[in-house]
Subunit: 449 residues, 2 copies
C-alpha cells in the first residue's frame, strides 16, 4: 500500500457527496457556466499526483452529468496548484494521457492570489487547509505566554498556545476564502476536505494529537542525549491546525463571500483497524520530513523516525477506538452573487405612496370624476408583530422580478436571507408609532359630459 | 556570456517591432479584449527562463500602453509552455517576484492543442518553430531516395532530402497554426520569431548549415575509427528546418486562419564579429546534446563536441560574412474573424429589385397617383469593365453597417478583401450579356380627389 492510498480513500468517501452537491448546486443557467466557454477547475495543494488526477476526474464527471441534457457540453481547463517547491516536473510527466481536459500548473501558496478575477468555476482543496502559512510567532518566543516548550503542535495544555494556533488559522482561512472569492465566478463552487476535530474535542485527546506528542517526546529524548540542542527542540512547532466544524462554519460565515451549502463529517471505516505503524511512520516522514530537515538538518531524520515508530509501538493504546476522534470534513461552498456599487446606485423601485390629499387633488385636476368618498381603511393587525419570514417572502414575490432583471438571479437568495435577518435586527421599525402607512378606499363617479 | 544571451539579443531586436505592431493592431474595442477580463498570453517553447520572462514583460508593457487611455486596465494571465521534459520546477522557482501577472505552466508539444477554444489573446513563440515534431521518416530509410546518409540536416545536395524536410515543416506549421487558430480569440495576435533563410538561399550555403556539416564530418570520423557505428551515423538526422520568408508566408496564407500583418528580417549586428568557438560549441551542445545522447548514448558526448570545436577552428572560413546568411524573421499575425455557419444562414439583405411592370402595378393599385412616365435610364458605362477595387469599396460603403451589425466588425476587412479577390476570379459576371439590371425613372402626378 502506497502512502497516497490513505488520501485516496478520503477522496473516495467524498465522491458521493460531491456528485450529489454538484447535481444540486451547479446552475447550468448561470451565464458564467455557459458551456461555450471552458469550465475552469483548480485543485489547490495538489501535490504530484495521482490523487489530484483522481479527484479532478470525479469533479469533471459530476459536472458533465449536469450538462448531459444540454445541446453543448463545455470543455475543461484544469489548474494544478501547489507550493513552488512541489515537483511539477513529475506532475506533468504523469498527467493521464487519456484526460478529457487541458492542464496547467500553478506554483504558489493558496494563502495568496493565484488566478485573475472571476476566472475559476470550481475549486477543490483536499487535506491541505490544516497547513498554516507559518507557525504563529509567539510560539517561538521564550517570553511569550504562548511559548510552546515541549510540544510541537496545539496539543499543549496551555490555552495561549491553542489560541495562537487558532488565531493563525483564522487569519489564513480569511486570506484563503477572500482570495478564492475574487477568483471564482458568481455562483462558482468550492469543495474543501478539511482535517479537523469534532466540536469540543481537543487535539490532545485524539490519536493524531497523541501521535504528535510521541514525536515530541522522541525529540526530547534526542535532546537529553545531546543529539540535538534542547533549544532547537523547544523552538520547533508544526504549522498545522485542526479546526472543529463549528469553527470552520463560523470562519466562512464571518468571511461572508460564500454560502455554506453543506458541512459533513466523512465516514472513516478504517477507524476500527489497527494501523501498520511502519506505514504511519513513513507517511509522517513524507509529510513533515522537509520541515524537520529545515529546522534540525537532515542528519537526524533516520534516527528520529526510527525512534518514532518504536515509541508508537510502545504506545499502542493511542490507537484505541475511543481516541480516534479526528475527522475529515466535507465542506461545500457556493460563491455568493457579487453586486457592484454602480448597480446598487442605479437601482430604484417604481413605487410611489401618495397622501389622500394628493390623490384627491389629482382626481379633481383631471376633472372627469366626482370624488364620492376617500377613506382610510382600518388596519386591525397594526398592533401585532409581523412574521418576518412572511414579510420577506411577500416582498420577494412583489419585487423579486425587478431585482433579478437589474442584478441577475444569483443574488436573490442571498439578498432576501440578508433582508429577513436585518429586519429581525431592526425590529423597532414595527413599533406602532412608525406604522403610519395606510390603504385608501377611493370611490369615484364619472361626471355627466 | 551565458548561452541564453544569444537568444535575448534576438528578443531585443524584435522589441521595437513588437511595440509598433501591438500599438497598431491590438484593437481595444474588440469585445474579446474587454479589460474587465484578463488578457491571456502564452509563450510557446519557453524553456526555463529568463528569456521567456523578458519577452513576456515586453509584450505586457506594449499591451498596457494600448490601454493607457482606458479607464480600466486589464490583468494578465501568462501561460509558459514547453515540452513535458522541460524543467518547469526551475521555471517556477525563478519566476520574477515583481511580476505583474498570474503565471501558469503548460506541458506539451505546440504541434498539438494546449488550450481550450478561444481562451488566448496573444501568442509568442521565439526560436522554436524550426524544431520539427519529428525527423521525416524517409530520411532514415536506406531504400528511400531521401535517405540522408552523411548529412544530419537538409544541407544535403539531394533534392528528395530537402523536400522531405520541407514537407514535414509544412505539416507541422499547419498543425501549429490550426491549433493556435482555435485557441486564440477573434482578432487575437501572434508573434513568431523564426530561424530561417533568405528566399532562394540553401541551408548548405550558410554558416549555420556548414557548421552542421562540420558536425556530420566529426560523426563520420568517429565511425571510421569505430567509436560509433556507421549505421548509427547514417540514420542520425536533426529535426530542424529553416524556412524562407516566402515559404513561411505561403504556409500561413494556405492555412487561412491568420492575416499576415508583417514579416520582417531582424537585424543581426553580430554578423561582422568572429564568434567565440568555445561558446558556439557549448550552445550547440545545450541545444542538441539530448538528441545525440538519445541516439548514440551519453558516452560520445564529450568526444564529439571536443572534435566539433576543434574542426570549427580548422574551418574558420565558414564564419566569413558572405556565408552568414541565416536570418531571424519577425512574423506578426492576427486571427481572422470567425463566422459561424448559423450566422451566415440567418443573414439576408433588405433589398428588392422590382420590374417596371411590378412598379406600375403597385402605383395603380395604390390609386393616388397618375403614372405620367416610367422609363429605363440609359447606361452608357455598360460596355466598360468596372474597377473592382471601386466596386468593392462601394459595396462596403453601402452594406458595411449591416455586416457589422450581424457579424461584428472583426470580419469586415477580411470579407471585403475576399470579395474583391473573388470578383476578380469571376470576371465573366461583368459580361455585357449579364448586365441586365436597370435604373427606372418614375414620374407621378397626384390625382385630384
Amino acid at each position: 500500500m502506497k502512502i497516497h492510498v490513505l488520501q485516496k480513500e478520503v477522496i473516495d468517501f467524498a465522491k458521493g457527496l460531491l456528485n450529489e452537491m454538484i447535481a444540486e448546486k451547479l446552475d447550468v443557467e448561470n451565464p458564467s457556466f455557459d458551456p461555450s466557454n471552458p469550465i475552469c477547475i483548480a485543485d489547490l495543494g495538489c501535490s504530484v499526483g495521482p490523487n489530484t488526477f483522481y479527484a479532478v476526474n470525479n469533479i469533471i464527471e459530476a459536472i458533465e452529468l449536469k450538462y448531459k441534457s444540454n445541446p453543448q457540453t463545455p470543455s475543461f481547463h484544469v489548474f494544478f496548484n501547489d507550493h513552488t517547491t512541489n515537483d511539477f516536473n513529475t506532475l506533468f510527466k504523469t498527467l493521464p494521457t487519456n484526460r478529457k481536459y487541458f492542464a496547467a500548473g500553478v506554483a504558489g501558496s493558496f494563502h495568496r492570489r493565484l488566478f485573475p478575477n472571476s476566472t475559476l468555476h470550481f475549486v477543490h482543496c483536499s487535506a491541505a487547509l490544516h497547513w498554516l502559512s507559518e507557525v504563529p510567532k509567539e510560539l517561538k518566543d521564550r517570553n511569550s505566554l504562548a511559548w510552546n516548550k515541549g510540544s510541537v503542535l496545539h496539543t499543549s495544555p496551555v490555552k495561549e498556545v491553542r489560541e495562537a494556533y487558532s488565531a493563525q488559522f483564522r487569519k489564513d482561512m480569511e486570506e484563503f476564502l477572500s482570495g478564492r472569492a475574487q477568483e471564482l465566478v458568481r455562483g462558482g463552487l468550492m469543495v474543501l476536505i478539511v482535517q479537523g476535530l469534532p466540536d469540543g474535542v481537543l487535539l490532545s485527546e485524539t490519536t493524531v494529537g497523541m501521535g504528535f506528542c510521541v514525536l515530541a517526546s522522541c525529540l526530547d529524548d534526542m535532546a537529553k542525549t545531546g543529539v540535538v540542542s534542547a533549544e532547537k527542540v523547544d523552538s520547533f512547532n508544526l504549522p498545522f491546525y485542526h479546526p472543529s466544524s463549528k469553527e470552520l462554519r463560523a470562519l466562512i460565515e464571518t468571511n461572508g463571500y460564500f454560502h455554506v451549502e453543506r458541512i459533513e463529517k466523512l465516514s472513516t471505516p478504517w477507524r476500527h483497524e489497527t494501523p501498520d505503524l511502519q506505514l504511519v511512520g513513513m507517511h509522517l516522514r513524507a509529510v513533515i520530513g522537509g520541515l524537520i530537515e529545515e529546522h534540525f538538518g537532515d542528519e537526524i531524520l533516520d534516527d528520529l523516525f526510527q525512534r518514532h515508530i518504536k515509541k508508537l509501538g510502545e504506545s499502542a493504546f493511542i490507537y484505541d477506538e475511543k481516541y480516534r476522534k479526528e475527522a475529515n470534513y466535507f465542506v461545500f461552498l457556493k460563491r455568493k452573487g457579487v453586486v457592484s456599487a454602480e448597480k446598487v446606485d442605479s437601482f430604484n423601485l417604481p413605487f410611489y405612496h401618495p397622501s389622500s390629499k394628493e390623490l384627491r387633488a389629482l382626481i379633481e385636476t383631471n376633472g372627469y370624476f366626482h370624488v364620492e368618498r376617500i377613506e382610510k381603511l382600518s388596519t386591525p393587525w397594526r398592533h401585532e408583530t409581523p412574521d418576518l419570514q412572511l414579510v420577506g417572502m411577500h416582498l420577494r414575490a412583489v419585487i423579486g422580478g425587478l431585482i433579478e432583471e437589474h442584478f441577475g438571479d444569483e443574488i436573490l437568495d442571498d439578498l432576501f436571507q440578508r433582508h429577513i435577518k436585518k429586519l429581525g435586527e431592526s425590529a423597532f421599525i414595527y413599533d406602532e408609532k412608525y406604522r403610519k402607512e395606510a390603504n385608501y378606499f377611493v370611490f369615484l363617479k364619472r361626471k355627466v359630459a
